[in-house]
Symmetry: C2
Subunit: 389 residues, 2 copies
């Protein structure tokens, strides 16, 4: 086990009707906020009115910025920064899923920075201060509500880049599973894939002796696997929605990374796909993960056997670890199919004409590798993408 | 799943040599601290010198109060409160295990309270402010380093009472598994039992649909079960020590309670035992837990079957759930024996002459019940204790 420092400072307020507490929570930080969200769905569902009501009761002024898209755009972030400065806003409330939260985090650091906020995403600068951010979560997927990550897409070249820093963890996240009842099946499934990827990419490590976090990863995956299919039988299944929502946060608040180094190659490869093709992130992951596994499993068959046996209840063929490992990968792939996700690039209408470009972007023109268990160079990434065709 | 609010504000600094960071961490809060610890073991091991060195480097003054005993005493807490007030101390550093930390928490709230600090433990008053507390952990067991609990024993009547409130969670905990190499085998084993009890008492719940936390509890228990025996083969096994140390914190920082209500009857019954007989808390738990299980399993056989199969790998005898359940309880009992713990009151030299007194104290003279899955009245507690003879 490696040395680590772990702090999860986000207050998680979980359960029915909890969105009505949002005004009271914000009162501790601010009297004037930016209310940041996506499209009209929060108005249609009545969530918008309940939040506005709660803000009014707590005597909190707000301005609004809507229009966050999946793969949130830098241009909107810049619009938000301008609005915050002009209106002397000192708190950002994100109402939505990972895209809205990531956009809110970017606005929060950008408002207090004199330079171009994109500097933080290219590694040109490190943020040292931020406005506080609060969250009302409506899509369990990205785990951004308690994570140190923000992923933004720069339309100028369609670069999708991430920032990872403790500073940007939200102050609180309000999580009512009922708010996810209206999520369409495909979006629900994409969220499940994202959650599973966050756990799986922490699970695959070269760090030895990490039994406790191994077991926690396996347990979290099993809970997702047993509950996700229930969401498609009955979209209003509160308990199953609650399990998935709670898993989304724990999958990405770094608890499952403590003392180990994971392998986020699949996420990085997928970012290039969704950056160029604007596919749903979770769907992209359901395509990349099986391909990444098939390409890399032979470098550490033992861990893939453990994954197959403990997570997917595969029979352990002791005399053929390879067979056990491959059956685990197959079960995962079948699971993604079962919940309605694509598992090939073809199903996402992605042909083979831009694979090279993706591999190149992902490895910074072939100058760096991605991943940890297996460090993938440009050629490796290309092979992974070909396996995903 | 029930509604919940979860916040774990303690910064956990885990790994080799981390005790040398203690001065830097405290600097954020204080220039004058109380250094609180037990006996001379931290001097013998050299830990004391390293801490003093780190404090000096960070220019932090300190006064000392040593002499904390297992089942920490109210009288020493009061001595600490007096010393903090007289010396204008505004931070308490606990160096030790649960007893030292619990004592430090009590001093921290008592210093800022005009009344008798025991009021907080009898429920007569609620603390509203506290000095900040930091921890250098040397015994993985109580989980007090990141918990909201403090348990103090009042020598006047030998009442052992606990306070549970978010306010008293430490600011940071430094956890170096190497510091636990010198723990004697019996103390190591007692810690393991305490850790397992914290998980088990959260696991046994009447709350339905708590799959994720079930899985996390099962995973944490499995990691403890696979690593604990290694500590007795080689006391300097860093990786196994690390797994147990990390488990001790996660077992009791309330992550595993999220959305569910556990059953802490065993802890409450044991508190009366260790209050009267001054036995090691973990040893008391290894005695009470099997008895509590035997007395209550028939009220929810399904959960005990789950415990047996998932945690202890018991064969599921589908046609005889009772057999499966009992085999799980037996495996746990055997495990405690294997690591050198008593599993009967007799082995702790506790006879049957004061069982009634313990049952009475535990239930406040028969006026309240303890536990949740099965609410135990005085007669029930007496029966549990008899099963433990």
């Amino acid at each position: 086990m490696l040395n680590f420092s772990y702090l999860s400072p986000t207050k998680l307020i979980f359960g029915k009707d909890t969105e009505n507490q949002v005004g009271e929570e914000i009162k501790l930080y601010s009297k004037k906020i930016l209310l940041h969200y996506g499209g009209g769905s929060i108005k249609k569902s009545g969530l918008y009115s309940r939040i506005v009501e709660s803000l009014k009761e707590a005597k909190i002024d707000f301005i609004e910025l809507s229009g966050v898209q999946p793969n949130p755009r830098l241009s909107l972030v810049k619009e938000g920064i301008k609005a915050c400065r002009e209106n002397h806003v000192d708190f950002i409330l994100a109402v939505g899923g990972g895209s809205v939260i990531d956009s809110a985090k970017a606005i929060a650091i950008g408002t207090l920075y004199d330079g171009d906020v994109w500097d933080f995403y290219t590694g040109k600068a490190l943020p040292v201060k931020t406005l506080p951010v609060g969250v009302v979560l409506t899509i369990p997927a990205a785990g951004s509500e308690a994570s140190k990550s923000s992923v933004i897409t720069n339309e100028d070249g369609w670069y999708k880049r991430s920032l990872n820093i403790e500073l940007i963890k939200p102050k609180f996240a309000i999580m009512n599973p009922e708010l996810t009842f209206t999520l369409p099946p495909y979006q629900t499934a994409c969220g499940v894939a994202d959650i599973m990827a966050h756990i799986i990419e922490r699970y695959f490590t070269t760090t030895a002796h990490v039994d406790l976090t191994d077991r926690l990863c396996e347990g979290a995956l099993k809970a997702v696997i047993e509950n996700a299919p229930l969401l498609f039988e009955n979209t209003n299944n509160y308990d199953a929605r609650a399990e998935i929502m709670w898993a989304s946060t724990l999958a990405h608040n770094d608890l499952l990374s403590t003392g180990r180094i994971g392998d986020f190659a699949s996420h990085q490869v997928e970012h290039e796909m969704s950056g160029i093709y604007d596919v749903a992130h979770g769907a992209g992951l359901a395509v990349v993960l099986p391909a990444w596994m098939k390409y890399t499993y032979s470098r550490d068959v033992t861990r893939f056997v453990k994954f197959a046996v403990r997570v997917w209840n595969v029979e352990n063929y002791f005399d053929s670890p390879e067979r056990t490992a491959l059956e685990g990968i197959q079960r995962m792939t079948d699971f993604f199919k079962q919940i309605g996700l694509p598992t090939t690039l073809g199903e996402l209408s992605i042909l083979d004409d831009r694979l090279e470009e993706m591999a190149s972007k992902c490895t910074n023109g072939g100058t760096k590798t991605v991943g940890n268990c297996t460090k993938l160079n440009k050629e490796d990434v290309l092979q992974v993408l070909k396996l995903a065709l």
